[in-house]
Amino acid sequence: MDFAVVLTLDILYSIAVLVLISAGLAVVFGMMRVINLAHGEFMMMGGYATIVATKAGVNIYVSMLIVAPIVVGLIGLVIERLVIRFLYGRLVDTMLATWGLSLALTGIAVMIFGNTTTGVSTPIAGFTLGAFQVNGYNFFIIIVSILIMIGGYLALRYTRLGLVARGTMQSSDMAAALGYSPGRVYMATFVVGSALAGLAGGVLAPLVGLVPTWGSAYIAKAFITVISGGASIVTGMMSSAVIFGLVSQVFTLLSGPVIGEVALLVTAIVLLRLLPQGITGRFFKGRL
């Protein structure tokens, strides 16, 4: 019984992490067909923002949930104005430019923070459940990811901003004809996506020893999750995160973390081969 609970928690955690790291990329890809390959570095910057703020005395929750998203959101704004703005509609070019940005940002981080690891400790202690040790922080992460998904869905569905954003995504010309500036919408969307990435980085930072190259471990998974999910932002990301989270946890349990990773990757290949438009290209079509 305890084992079942712990296993469920592990799977939920696995899914939650995928959601967390993919949310920012999903917003930007789902809305604007922009693939931001610097997404991992945005997370890294969120992590550093959290650590620096916490070490300067700011409450860790504030650092993670407020400071990190704001800092990275601002950086995202600058990058959008300077680079991304000129590349809308050019999918491959945005991938290449953001890849360049990812390298550049890593380089800058190395120059500022050096190659050594830094970190802060998790604010929530673990506890025991029967014969198992459970990491309390995992709950926090699961909750944050649920809130992100709910918040995202509500924002897109019920707020004016969400409606305008969805409209622009469907047809930017019509949105412009109605008086909304697509340029502004894209800018705001990119900032939101960056902030989400910063949030992810901030929340995950206490779990790792942060190095400038930390982001690169996540970009592949985030990218794969988003593409496999398909065009719908929330539904797509959720469905692929659930599948991948489940597969990777089960295989990790059976054969260890590396096989868990490999299983995730193989599943991605199979999924994409069968559903070339992503999951929501075929199922849940038209959902948010």
Binding site: I35, L87, L96, G107, M111, A220, I224, E261, R273
Partner: protein, 341 residues
């Protein structure tokens, strides 16, 4: 091959021979050979991407496969000829299978990119875990993160004792690069090549003409894989060790950056891009003031924004404009080269 195409090839060959003879006065053989290997690797992607329209995010997978195939078979056989052949054949076959899986599934663009990226990731992750003694093929231990050292490097065919290294490896590699270049140009000028370029332009129209585009893309992709494998095998002889890093995402990224910077319209562009950036990385590595990733990244961003077709095509346009005194034909965006270009 059309007259002008033939002339271009001869010019490139002549220039190549000149560079081959002059370069050792500028740089040492060791570094030069690596740049040549990078050039060949870049050419493999330049072929399938610039001419075939196939954006592969995991070209490093075939590079690594070639290297590992060479290392493992050389360690077991003790002579380099068969390993070299295997190092081309294995990536060729694997790329063919992977290509068939993707192209017969009508995958394209981003989704193709993701799958190729995932494949290279799988190799990378898997190879990193093969540290234990149970991961052995014949006499070769896969060695996990540390890779495989100590195998027979390139020798004169038939004579395992006559090693080809340093200056002779440089010349051999250069000649191989030039030979591959000529062969690829011949391929592009052949009907197969012309159809491949047409597929890049408009796949459905080519199918309506009665050609099987999926098969042709698969073959082209396999050829690209084989060339990348050859580069990997040469690397194996040059470095005397093969490591999982060869499969890394970073390596795949570099290959793409070489092609972008060098320009996708030609075969020469990517080679020059690889040589230039490879050298830049080497030079940057010697100093600590500016992080080399920062420079590379900045270059990529600037090139994409300012010279979307890459350096070589942009230079060619300027050159042509100056020569003819009127605007030369311009092609917008990242369209690739013609079969005779």
């Amino acid at each position: 091959m059309a007259g002008s195409g033939m002339r271009d090839v001869l010019w490139v060959l002549a220039a190549g021979v000149v560079v081959m003879l002059v370069a050792p006065f500028v740089l040492n053989y060791y570094t030069l050979t690596l740049l040549l290997i990078y050039g060949m690797l870049a050419m493999s992607l330049g072929l399938i991407w610039g001419f075939g329209g196939i954006l592969c995010f995991g070209q490093a997978a075939f590079y690594g496969l070639g290297a590992y195939a060479y290392a493992i078979s050389a360690a077991n056989i003790g002579e380099s000829t068969i390993p070299m052949l295997l190092a081309v054949a294995l990536p060729f076959v694997f790329a063919g299978l992977l290509g068939a899986m993707m192209f017969y599934g009508r995958l394209s663009d981003v989704y193709l990119g993701v799958i190729t990226l995932v494949v290279t990731l799988i190799f990378f992750r898997f190879m990193n875990t093969t540290a234990g003694p149970e991961y052995t093929i014949g006499k070769a231990r896969l060695g996990g993160f540390n890779g495989i050292p100590g195998y027979q490097t390139l020798n004169v065919p038939g004579d395992p004792g006559a090693y080809i290294y340093d200056s002779s490896l440089y010349y051999v590699t250069f000649v191989i690069l030039l030979v591959v270049y000529v062969l690829v140009r011949l391929l592009l000028a052949s009907p197969f090549g012309r159809i491949a370029v047409a597929i890049r332009e408009n796949e459905s129209r080519v199918e309506l003409m009665g050609y099987d585009a999926r098969l042709r893309k698969t073959v082209l992709f396999a050829i690209g894989g084989g060339i990348a494998g050859l580069a990997g095998a040469l690397f194996a002889s040059w470095a005397e060790i093969v490591t999982p890093g060869m499969f890394s995402l970073g390596q795949s990224a570099e290959i793409i950056i070489w092609c972008i910077v060098g320009g996708l319209g030609t075969l020469v562009g990517p080679v020059l891009g690889a040589a230039a950036l490879g050298y830049l990385k080497f030079a940057l590595g010697q100093q600590t003031a500016v992080d080399n990733q920062l420079v590379m990244g900045a270059i990529l961003v600037v090139v994409v924004l300012v010279l979307p077709r890459g350096v070589v095509p942009s230079l060619m346009t300027v050159f042509a404009r100056l020569r003819r005194g009127r605007p030369a034909r311009r092609r917008r965006g990242r369209s690739g080269g013609r079969a005779d270009g």
